[in-house]
């Protein structure tokens, strides 16, 4: 026969070929051949490409959908018919359709069938489909495990490669457990192609199931002595993962990793890379294998962290990398960046650290924005460790404030704040102000608050501080946070008189500039406050800086403009009205105009403004004689640094609460001290109520001058921090205004019946402190009880000495002076007012000094922070503010009722997961009148690392009907379990 016939039949001459047929020539053979190839070949250039072309030709989304739906229907039908010839092509088409966003889950099983095929083409597409379509949340994905197991044992390296690649991409914990031993076997394969893939597969297996680390440990030994870069880089990656995952493994590698110690071994590899000369295979723009270098540097960082010996061993090589790396391209900077991170993280030498910071300094000047960004980010991380080194690059960092890239500007801003100190505050503030003026809205709030904090901490002079504060208010406009308003007011109030005049003049000037009042309402608020408060100085005091004073009618005209402008917020108008009332006692001519303006608010649509209008009008009529003493100047406020540094100042609530107090006070006064039950809005409503009750029912004999003395003594005692009286509870300064107003207005009616409440010395001082200290959960309810008890029982002995007014300098005098003709009987009343203040939860510095936890626990006005809304239904709004404590998370619940109905027997029940412990403190009440508020504190202690979720059940009785709401809240800030907090 023709033994060669099968092998090479086509080239045989016709006479030797018995099958020769003239019609069966080369051309027809070639044609038949190509057709057959086209029909069977996987990448199906015709059909897959045709489909893609068709889809791309669709002009509308509907057209595209039609094409896809038709094709999907066809593909489904072939799947049903178990067509194995075209399966591969159909899956390929399905994958394209999947990428366009259409559902393709029906191809999952077909992918599995493909992977089980013997053809490589089928496997290649099958595994690709499996990687794209399988979802580890569905059990179907486990069906691939067996297939993978078979292919991991295949004799073809590329089939093994496909299986490893798939496992590396989609290994679920179950798959990882089932196939770990196979992977471990392949890690020892002599074939580098398989070995590197198996190593990364092991990396993935450990990621999913850290317990499996043990079985891979022996196989890692030899990885670092290989020459092949694929093995090296995958090996370093795997070891890095192991070391990061468990400190035991880290120790294992440090002590023993094969023949050599790991650190010198890595140092050797790195040295070979940077000194080894040009190797075309791994060269990237003149740097030898940057990928491997970076991985090694990162592993060195983990090994050298908190390990002086290991750090010592890598100091030299890090210095070498830092100096020898070519930096004209991104690659070089990539390596330098990683080197800097390593230098910062290990126990490196001082010189090396300076070198690292200098590299970052050079980065800041780089023309590549990406490099500037990572430099700022890294500096931000290291600034607290190496402040002086970073300081040297201050000017460069400030330059970055002008960067066109917003992310770079943000980083530069954060870094600038970290760099401010007493020496550079002036220049830094100047730069930051320029930045603030031009900054995007998103920056303004953060930047202004940051500047205020820095100024508070480092300001060289009061004048400078005031100027800065003003500049910030002008530059940030409406974006400043409430804390800036309150801190400015505190600052002005505690400044010496010439400074007060000065800044009031500046405020006036800034108000003159057009459109300030709408775009810069916080400025408006501060300005009218200052003008009202210091109106006499402003208009008639010593004029040192040749300030051009307005006439009284000009001044009133400006107020008129604000008060009638639709763009000015209610809060600003509230400030303006109080200011106007104050001005009525400071100005000489325009009192009638003021009265007219205030009276016009008597019919304002806003209830709050209307109330102010009506109540202040009373001060021009029947109670005219009370106006001057009532509207006396505020005593100086201490700047409450603690609160403002936390960014959650009393300021925000000051802003909100003060008006209510005033109004409640007036109203209470007007109708006999009891009418506040339906009074509005705030917690304070209730509190003030209590206070007034207290005042109203205290039926003690006149205290007179003796009390005044006692009170003065107490205040002195507070100042000296006299230990005997150290438990005096001080009213927080920021609320003095409220207090005074409250007191003043109150006195107008109650002074006749109320006298000298807290007489005597510091004898019974334990009472309130016990409340504040022992009774950490002190809620309003507790306060109520306590005060109620005192009220009924021995009021005198209970409150004595436990309450005082924090005063500095002339404050008590001025405060009392404010009471004017009403006589000294008013003095003691200040004391219960202080209690009221305590109830408000503004317990300030002094209390904080004495008992910080108590101070924070008393807070019932929840701290500022992100509010989680748990329920917002039919006017019932339940919100949470959470604060991380030392050992637990405190969650403050605030329920407000904005409906017209009174909710009774309000009860909140909460449940958390088993891994948390929940403690609920007594709520502030159980009745929610319209506009009423109930607060309650909860504490959550985490026992594991889970995310907190809370299920709530809210019950109340509305119109005699029991109502129940259920809801779930999550999204609390992450809380570490307390055990992990060392």
């Amino acid at each position: 026969m023709y033994p060669y016939y099968e092998q090479d039949w086509s080239v045989l001459p016709p006479e030797n070929n018995r099958r020769f047929n003239p019609a069966f020539n080369m051309a027809t053979i070639r044609q038949a051949f190509t057709e057959a190839v086209e029909r069977v070949r996987m990448p199906t250039p015709t059909r897959l490409r045709d489909l893609i072309r068709q889809i791309r030709a669709a002009r509308t989304a509907a057209e595209e959908r039609a094409v896809v739906n038709k094709e999907c229907a066809y593909i489904r039908s072939t799947f049903r018919e178990e067509d194995s010839v075209w399966r591969c092509r159909n899956i390929a088409k399905l994958l394209y359709i999947h990428m366009l966003g259409y559902p393709a889950h029906f191809g999952q099983l077909e992918c599995l069938k493909l992977t089980a095929s013997t053809r490589f083409t089928d496997k290649r597409i099958g595994y690709l489909g499996a990687m794209l379509l399988l979802d580890e949340r569905q059990d179907v994905h486990l069906l691939i495990t067996n297939c993978l197991k078979n292919d991991l044992n295949s004799s073809t390296q590329f089939v093994v490669g496909l299986a490893l690649c798939t496992l590396g991409a989609i290994a679920s914990p179950e798959m990882a457990r089932d196939l770990a031993s196979e992977v471990e076997r392949l890690m020892k394969s002599p074939n580098t192609y398989i070995r590197k893939k198996a190593t990364l597969c092991a990396f993935r297996v450990i990621r999913r199931v850290p317990e499996l680390m043990e079985i891979f440990l022996p196989a890692t030994r030899s990885l670092l002595s290989e020459k092949n870069h694929g093995i090296l880089i995958t090996g370093v990656t795997l070891i890095t993962e192991m070391c990061e995952n468990s400190s035991d493994t880290l120790m294992h590698f440090k002590k023993d990793s094969g023949n050599r110690e790991i650190v010198p071994n890595l140092v050797r590899i790195l040295k070979n890379l940077i000194l080894g000369g040009y190797s075309p295979e791994h060269d990237v723009s003149g740097v030898s294998d940057p990928f491997l270098q970076v991985k090694i540097l990162r592993l060195l960082r983990i090994l050298g962290h908190n390990d002086p010996d290991a750090s010592e061993a890598m100091n030299d090589i890090l210095a070498q990398v830092a100096t020898n790396t070519e930096t004209s391209k991104n690659v070089g900077n990539t390596i330098l960046y990683e080197t800097v991170l390593s230098i910062m993280d290990i126990r490196s030498e001082g010189g090396l650290r300076v070198l690292a910071v200098n590299i970052l300094g050079r980065f800041l000047l780089n023309s590549d924005k990406n490099i500037r960004y990572v430099a700022l980010n890294t500096l931000l991380r290291t600034v607290h460790a190496d402040t002086s080194a970073v300081q040297r690059h201050r000017t460069t960092i400030l330059e970055c404030l002008k960067d066109p890239d917003v992310s770079i500007r943000r980083r530069a801003m954060e870094l600038s704040f970290a760099l401010i100190n007493a020496q550079n505050i002036r220049t830094m503030t100047k730069e930051l102000l320029l930045f603030l003026e031009k900054a995007d809205a998103e920056f303004k709030a953060q930047c202004s608050s940051g500047m205020i904090l820095a100024a508070e901490r480092y300001s060289p002079t009061t004048r400078w501080h005031l100027d800065t504060q003003l500049s910030v208010l002008i530059a940030a406009g409406n974006y400043v946070r409430d804390d800036v308003v309150s801190s400015t007011i505190q600052l002005v109030s505690s400044s010496p008189v010439p400074e007060q005049t000065y800044i009031t003049n500046r405020f006036w000037e800034s108000l003159q500039v057009a459109n300030h009042c709408e775009d810069k309402q916080p400025l408006l608020q501060v300005a009218v406050w200052a003008i009202g408060e210091y109106g006499d100085l402003f208009m008639y005091g010593a004029n040192e800086d040749e300030f051009e004073r307005p006439t009284e009618s000009d001044l009133i005209a400006v107020y008129h403009k604000f008060l009638t402008s639709a763009q000015v917020s209610t809060t600003s108008k509230q400030y303006a009205l109080v200011s106007l009332a104050k001005l009525s006692t400071r100005l000489q001519q325009c009192v009638e105009e003021i009265q007219a303006l205030i009276t016009s608010f008597g019919s304002h649509l806003n209830v709050d403004l209307q109330q102010r209008g009506v109540e202040f009008t009373q001060l021009f009529g029947h109670y005219k004689h009370l106006r001057p003493p009532l509207l006396e100047k505020m005593p100086a406020m201490q700047i409450s640094r603690i609160s403002s540094q936390n960014g959650e100042s009393g300021g925000g609530s000051f802003d909100d609460n003060s008006p209510d107090v005033i109004e409640n006070g007036v109203e209470g006064g007007g109708s006999g001290g009891h009418p506040l039950i339906e009074s509005n809005m705030n917690t304070l409503g209730d509190n003030t109520n209590i206070l007034l009750d207290l005042l109203g029912s205290t039926d003690l004999s006149a205290g007179g001058a003796g009390d005044l003395v006692a009170a003065t003594d107490l205040s002195n005692a507070v100042h000296k921090k006299n230990s005997r009286n150290a438990n005096d509870v001080a009213a927080p300064v920021s609320n003095n205004q409220d207090l005074l107003d409250l007191l003043d207005l109150d006195l107008s009616t109650t002074s006749s019946t109320t006298t000298g409440a807290p007489a005597g010395g510091g004898g019974g001082g334990g009472g309130i402190l016990a409340l504040a200290g022992d009774n950490n959960q002190s809620s309003v309810a507790n306060m109520n009880n306590m005060l109620g008890g005192l009220d009924l029982g021995g009021f005198g002995s209970g409150l004595d000495g436990s309450v005082s007014i924090p005063t500095n300098g002339n404050d008590l005098a001025s405060m009392l002076g404010g009471l004017g003709g009403i006589s000294a009987t008013s003095a003691p009343l200040a004391a219960p007012a202080a209690v009221g203040n305590l109830i408000e939860g503004h317990a300030g510095n002094l209390l904080g000094d004495l008992n910080p936890t108590a101070a924070s626990n008393n807070v019932l006005v929840p701290p500022q922070g992100p509010r989680l809304t748990a329920l917002d239904k039919d006017g019932l709004l339940v919100q949470f503010v959470s604060v991380r404590g030392n050992d637990c998370m405190r969650i403050y619940m605030t329920t407000t009722n904005s409906s017209d109905n009174t909710l009774e027997q309000y009860l909140l029940k909460a449940a958390v997961q088993k891994s948390f412990q929940l403690q609920m403190l007594t709520p502030s009440g159980s009745v929610l009148p319209p506009g009423g508020v109930i607060t309650q504190e909860m504490r959550v202690v985490a026992t594991s690392n889970a995310t907190l979720r809370m299920r709530l059940r809210i019950q109340y009785v509305l119109d005699g009907q029991q109502q129940v709401e259920q809801t779930e809240v999550s999204g609390f800030p992450e809380q570490q379990p307390s055990a992990a907090e060392e």
């Binding site: 190839v37 990448p43 994958l95 966003g101 597409i125 991409a169 694929g230 500037r372 066109p404």
Partner: protein, 157 residues
């Protein structure tokens, strides 16, 4: 470790997606939509990095295609740019000055190349030559199968 890689066009059309984290399909779509909009809205003068949820996003535009990767907090974002660049170089070598159409019509090839460069979100091979060699050998294996299949089809084997 890279969490996922997305390729999309300037029109926001997805061209390639590779997920190394197990997200449900819905989440994948949501993430894709979110990132595509965010990145397309960024101006050219902005840097290539953004902080997104608890990971870092690194993206780079090559002609009409955006390459976008999500990496973990302690990964080197500059190196990720190099990985993207390496992938582009490989595509370029394989297709011969690659363009978006190559990746559309041969998307499976683009996946195969990526799978030879990365496994489980980590780089497996730093030599371009080795990656291309592996791809070429596997393509050859497919060709052989096709020829074999054809021969069997027409009764010659």
């Amino acid at each position: 470790m890279m969490l996922f890689m997305l390729l999309f066009s300037r029109q926001g059309k997805l061209r390639l997606q590779k997920w190394y984290m197990a997200y449900p399909d819905k989440v994948k779509k949501k993430i894709t939509r979110e990132l595509v909009t965010t990145i397309l809205a960024r101006k050219p003068k902005m840097c290539s990095f953004l902080e997104w949820k608890d990971c870092k996003i690194v993206y780079k535009r090559y002609a009409s295609l955006y390459f976008c990767c999500a990496i973990e907090q302690n990964d080197n974002e500059l190196l990720t740019l190099e990985i993207i660049h390496r992938y582009v170089e490989l595509l370029d070598k394989y297709f011969g000055s690659v363009c978006e159409l190559d990746i559309i019509f041969n998307f499976e090839k683009a996946y195969f190349i990526l799978d030879e460069l990365l496994i489980g979100g980590e780089i497996q091979e730093t030599s371009k030559k080795n990656v291309l060699k592996a791809i070429a050998s596997q393509d050859l294996l497919q060709e052989d199968e096709a020829v074999e299949g054809t021969l069997r089809d027409i009764g010659l084997l």
